[in-house]
Symmetry: C2
Subunit: 360 residues, 2 copies
């Protein structure tokens, strides 16, 4: 059996758009979602790519997601917005709000938006990178389903709450930080579980809140809400900086959920079959707010080169800049992306069920 199946990007794109169309998502919106998902696959972040299609399909069917995305700007100033996503598709909400942030930042130097009542928006980096194309600096963060425990806590009450910041360079690749504030996302535990491998003690705790190396136990506990969960960046202990990762996760929840009066902590996905009330925070900064694009992008080239040329640790031959690995993967995957056979089969199943021609 073939574990990974290579599929044409164009065909995959069309298929995903058609699937969403069948579920009532307008074609233009479906294209946005397909682009966000396939960008993740192209950049090697398979966990956030079309592997999630089933969850979006279920989300629409279960009433968690509204296929017709209608956003409402609740409050607007020259440099900020509060937006209600109308329980629409997270990608469409975030795409449209980021477009508006970019427009406003071009005019007024900065724009930040806090967004309530949205849904899972895919990779955070997609939206921060939208700013790059316009020569701006982009910021993107989101809260998420509670899977992460606070330092000294037993239960998962915070999301993996990622932070992404993108800054343009000149001749070098841009800096694209895109990081969950937990040590690892849940997907990593699933991979280790599948391979029967033990996990490092920095990753997760058991139902008593004690670090464990057993991924199956953690995944089962999370599913059954028995306690335990993913550890914030830095692990369980203040000695290894766990309170810092916890602080970053909380920061994201504050900027997304608190500033918009949406949901935070355990209230995100808090009621089964109800809108998830996922909240985002997006922002665009014009380089003209500071020394301008020419200066910033040249300085970026210099700091990137300083890091890449720095001496390497024993047994290492390369220092990476954030986003670099993903840009290389993207270049390589410019016509086809590999799908895990289970993902491939799921897409086939969804197509069958919805009467969409399966062309992959």
């Amino acid at each position: 059996m073939q574990e990974w199946i290579s599929v044409k990007i164009d065909d995959l794109f069309e298929t995903v758009v058609e699937v969403f169309e069948k579920l009532g998502v307008p074609k233009e919106d479906g294209k946005i979602i397909a682009d966000v998902l396939i960008s993740a696959d192209r950049r090697g972040i398979d966990s956030h790519g079309v592997a999630r299609l089933k969850r979006y399909v279920d989300g629409i069917r279960n009433g968690v997601m509204n296929p017709k995305t209608e956003i409402t700007v609740v409050k607007e100033t020259p440099v900020s917005m509060v937006v209600d996503g109308g329980a629409g598709m997270g990608q469409v909400v975030a795409y449209r709000v980021m477009k508006k942030c970019i427009e406003k930042a071009k005019k007024n130097y900065l724009c930040f938006a806090t967004i309530r009542n949205s849904n899972h928006y895919g990779i955070a980096g997609y939206y921060s990178m939208m700013a790059l194309k316009e020569g701006l600096i982009g910021i993107s963060m989101t809260n998420a389903a509670p899977l992460v425990i606070p330092t000294f806590g037993k239960d998962a009450v915070l999301g993996t709450n990622p932070i992404s910041v993108a800054v343009p360079a000149k001749n070098e690749k841009p800096f694209v930080l895109d990081m969950a504030t937990s040590t690892v996302p849940r997907g990593k535990l699933e991979v280790y579980n599948r391979l029967g491998k033990k996990i490092p003690l920095m990753w997760a705790t058991d139902e008593n809140g004690v670090p464990t190396d057993d991924p199956a136990r953690v995944l089962r506990n999370l599913l059954e809400r028995k306690g335990g969960g993913l550890l914030p960046l830095g692990g369980a202990d203040e000695l290894t900086g766990g309170h810092k990762g916890y602080g970053l996760a909380l920061l994201v929840d504050i900027f997304s959920g608190v500033f918009s009066s949406g949901a935070w902590g355990t209230d995100v996905y808090g009621k089964k079959g109800q809108p998830a009330n996922v909240c985002h925070f997006l922002g665009a900064i014009s380089p003209d707010a500071f020394i301008g694009l020419e200066g910033i992008s040249e300085n970026m080239d210099n700091i990137i080169r300083m890091l890449k040329n720095a001496p390497k640790a024993e047994g290492k031959d390369r220092i990476y800049i954030h986003g670099e690995k993903e840009f290389e993967k993207e270049k390589e995957r410019n016509e086809e992306v590999p799908l895990y056979y289970k993902v491939y089969d799921t897409i086939k199943y969804i197509c069958n069920e919805l009467g969409v021609e399966f062309k992959l």
Copy 2:
């Protein structure tokens, strides 16, 4: 021998101001510096308090710091600034710029400033908390002397580059994140070294870039620039998220050094006896940019209570919010602060040398 000596805050304040006055720092500026330093002692961050007095005294004497702080606003928009600190006192530069950010944010909702050519500014949280007093959200970060190695690197080329964000609450204490982006600051290694204790392998690497438990070796290598240094939050390995801490350190250097065209990486404190070119990034956000102070501070109370009331891990009886421990310490240390005997002796020595009456 008494290890810790309790001194009156008022006397300490006066002494510090007089020391700086003798060195040519205007009295008003000296008061700012004294307040920043003593705030750190009051909040229990002794490593960044008056224990650093000697370094500032030396900084002025060695030509690294200009005692007469004159800042120049190089560029200004309604919501941003680029500032040159004129190699002045870091605390005075940051205090004045933050004041201006707050003023502008009150008028125009947001203001961010990137600052070059400054000096060590003490605790990052002092400036983010300045915004709290005005009912605003505060942001503060700074680059620093290169002590931290990038993931897979051998040499320290980044600073401990702290990030602080402060958000007001209503009846609860505000959220004040104030974290170095390294797992621990250098001061922690000094403490372990003094006690003859081994350090966790997440903290630092030896001269070959390999994690080590020997604090003396790391401190000696850093001093002699032999390679190795502090590890970013998450440790040496991508498996434990070290690339995330490294990404945050780089982010701070970009917002501070790159956006201002100041210095970054190894160029901070790059030339002996020359201005250090430390760079900061400060910002103030008015709650009116989003749902307003009433809503935000109420939501903050709720998210704080959700976390504090969450079930505790085995053997733990309390979940903390960021800043909470420091607020408790501050309340306790409202008239006196304890000084480590070596710090006490150093202040006495400085006073003697400068002809300042020693009243402690």
